[in-house]
Amino acid sequence: MSHAEQHSDPNLADAVPGYERHAGEEFSEGLGSYLIGLGLATLLTIVSFFIARTTLVWQPSIPVALAVLAIAQMGVHLVFFLHITTGPDNVNNVMALAFGVLIVFLVVVGSLWIMAHMNQNMMPMDQIMQMQR
């Protein structure tokens, strides 16, 4: 299969993040995607700020709710602003993203986990001070 054949049908070619295929011809179509993204992101942001200060919900649930809302909003940004979708032309982008998410998860959760254990096993500060005398 030659190079020219590979790209003779633009619908089968790979897509890049941030590039929407119809933008050249259909200006309004690209605009619609950004408008949906802006609406959803605004909604999620307002809910986040409301949840953070409200006394209506059980207080320990607030950090979990904030984390869920933040992840949802990042998803909105990825789909509507960066145009990372689950389409067959986006496999490379999604695989790279999945690897990035894995590393981020390992770094953040691993650090928290290890440091929490070290904190727990550490001698209280006043006892350390006494040993140094």
Binding site: P10, P17, A52, A70, M74
Partner: protein
């Protein structure tokens, strides 16, 4: 086997991506389009990999902040310091600028100058407003004795938020150079690729800010 070799030899330059220069070729025009798409894909994909590595760098700062958030050394905690109204305005600035940056990139792809220049101008104003608010917040914190040297919590806070602020400042400089390049050179294919990379960068900064205002400001004020 020999037929395959013959074809391969014939389209050898095509495979390397230089065959499109011959005008008499059957796939000449199609190939030029394919080559253009291919370059755009390579550039966009490479920049996407860079953005992911940048996000991984930020994850290290996030991890250190999460570990050190309780280590206030008797000093003020996030609850005493954070002003959610200011954070809300900053968030609105950055979200709207991400939107207008998207408008600018589709405006550039459609070769519509008024959309591109107008949206880029609004993006710059909103981004500069964000930086201004953040600088004012940092100056206020330093003035009340809560600078980065006060506690491990504040060191981690200034590193994380300041690093994001530096990225936004760099993005503003990049925005100005993109406007200048379009003004001087027009909507050439290579300029459009740079605009694509710039808009990806700007959207990625907004994604990092989402994690930042949720984890640092909102959780810090709620906890």
């Amino acid at each position: 086997m020999s037929a395959f070799q013959g074809t391969a030899g014939d389209s050898g330059p095509d495979r390397l991506g230089h065959g499109g220069t011959a005008p008499g070729r059957l796939h000449g025009a199609e190939h030029a389009v394919g080559e253009l798409m291919a370059k755009r894909i390579v550039v966009g994909y490479g920049f996407w990999i860079f953005l992911l590595s940048d996000i991984i760098m930020f994850s290290a700062f996030f991890a250190s902040y999460a570990v050190l958030v309780g280590q206030t050394a008797g000093g003020p905690s996030g609850r005493d310091l954070f002003d959610l109204r200011n954070t809300g305005i900053e968030t609105a600035c950055l979200l709207l600028s991400s939107f207008t940056c998207g408008i600018a990139s589709i405006g550039a792809q459609a070769h519509r100058g008024s959309w591109f220049y107008g949206a880029m101008a609004i993006t710059f104003i909103l981004g500069a407003g964000f930086i201004g608010l953040e600088a004012r917040e940092f100056a206020g914190l330093a003035a009340q004795g809560a600078g980065p040297t006060r506690s491990a919590f504040l060191s981690a806070f200034f590193t994380l938020v300041g690093c994001h602020g530096l990225h936004v400042s760099g993005g503003l400089l990049w925005l100005l150079t993109m406007v200048a390049q379009v003004f001087a050179k027009g909507y050439r294919a290579d300029i459009l690729r740079r605009i694509l990379c710039f808009s990806l960068f700007w959207h990625a900064l907004d994604i990092i800010w989402v994690a930042l205002f949720s984890m640092v400001y909102l959780m810090g004020a709620a906890a």
